[in-house]
Symmetry: C2
Subunit: 314 residues, 2 copies
Amino acid sequence: MATLIASENFSPTEDAEVLRRSVKGWGTDEKAVISILAHRNAAQRYEIRLAYEELYREDLIKRLESELSGDFEKAVYRWILDPTDRYAVLAHVAIKKPETDYNVIVEISSTLSPEELLAVRRAYQLRYKHSLEEDLAAHTTGDIRKLLVALVTTYRYDGGEINAKMAKSEADILHDAIKDKAFNHEEVIRILSTRSKTQLMATFNRYRDDHGISISKNLLDDGADDFQKALHVVIRCLNDPKKYFEKVLRQAIKRAGTDEDALTRVIVTRAERDLKDIKELYYKKNSVHLEHAVAKETSGDYKAFLVTLLGQED
Amino acid sequence: MATLIASENFSPTEDAEVLRRSVKGWGTDEKAVISILAHRNAAQRYEIRLAYEELYREDLIKRLESELSGDFEKAVYRWILDPTDRYAVLAHVAIKKPETDYNVIVEISSTLSPEELLAVRRAYQLRYKHSLEEDLAAHTTGDIRKLLVALVTTYRYDGGEINAKMAKSEADILHDAIKDKAFNHEEVIRILSTRSKTQLMATFNRYRDDHGISISKNLLDDGADDFQKALHVVIRCLNDPKKYFEKVLRQAIKRAGTDEDALTRVIVTRAERDLKDIKELYYKKNSVHLEHAVAKETSGDYKAFLVTLLGQED
């Protein structure tokens, strides 16, 4: 379930007019920006952009970027984009960091459906005139590169068939590879990047049943390197995205110096999807409401924007 | 230019009726099958299949498979399919051979446009309930696997921009890798599988200008192994598909014992695209008309079918 409370009496022209007033002249009325944008779904936001362009002959996104600043600006920018386009931007930002943020790449490639991932690859090309895998491969090396490129380029079969024999044999391949620490990377990458999600669930279950420990626990045994950590994220994203996102939020909040990028990313990407479920998981795990934790760690317009997206009524 | 001479006065119902008469009862009227199917384009063949199904409640393709045999059956089957579906079948056949026929995989992944390749991956899943890369990775190993999987999963940028500096630096990377024979496979695969075709043309040109030899010649210097041979095919398919297909035909015909699979594959996949240009290239290189060479090496209905697709009037 989503947390977004979208407006029901919606007029793109009126919204565009309010936004125009709130950015025009000296100063910006951030409250007005939040009260509109944090209550509009993706289709509505798109209509507002069109209406604004039509009325004022300027790009609303560019105007907001020049009027807002800091984490609030980043959050509004990510939020206002179409979800597919937003993932393309998030992937690009992750790739272009001095050290590619491979968690974000794993997250995008492993939590989206095969068709959604293809759409993101298309959006990435339109925006950056390169393919996603091209930029990714040029900015990474070694085993991590092999894993990430395989994950973003795959177009998994989306059907529900399970091959039980294959689940057993591939659970064994994964177990041997993890046990020996002499990772047979090629085979691990092949299995995790090409099998359907349904088949992988069967393989992970078989792993746990045959070997008495879950594969994700097994991967973090001791002294995990970057590649193992990345595999661990892959498996968590495939296995249970909501649980994975709850943990990303928890770590972003608990860190000394909040990780605003992660906080923003999870909230804007999930608010229209399943943030309500993630909030419930968060409460179960932390005995604190997510919106209270977020409010405690953030401030100003940024805080107001996030808690509104989290479903808090104004 | 295509060689196919498609019918202009076309009635799917009449065609379905003629085909029905030609397969009904004892024996088959192969001439009638050829005179219809070898003169219908993809859209027309699809309409005939629909009309046939509607009229006779059976699948025309299955019926033809049971009535025809040998190379003729294979050629008709491949031809009647929608081109996207046909590539999925060709890829599947190549993968399932005792030794995966990597040339066919390279050919499909490197001669199709990025969007066409995506469509083939979609068609493959619909047909086989697995992804193309999943089956391919499960049937290959080592460096060849890395190369082939990277080629089929890529979604290249399709724009015309050229980065001249990158063309120079990547031409050098390719040259060093080839010169040292200590192939830096990872980098070679990265460049060939992720860069846009336009960028790769610039890189290959730069290679030739800076190093005094074309990359494809350089790759076959001496003692090329399977991986080098596959790279060679990749580069030829990217560089000049028509020239590549001419050579496939030449080798299929010249071999002791014609290579019917290759002959059929090139003729059915190119007849509606550019087989006329390929025929002209063939004549230039061999001083023999392709349809005469094909007629000499084949016989019966198979021969009649191929030469009709090659544009010979009945």
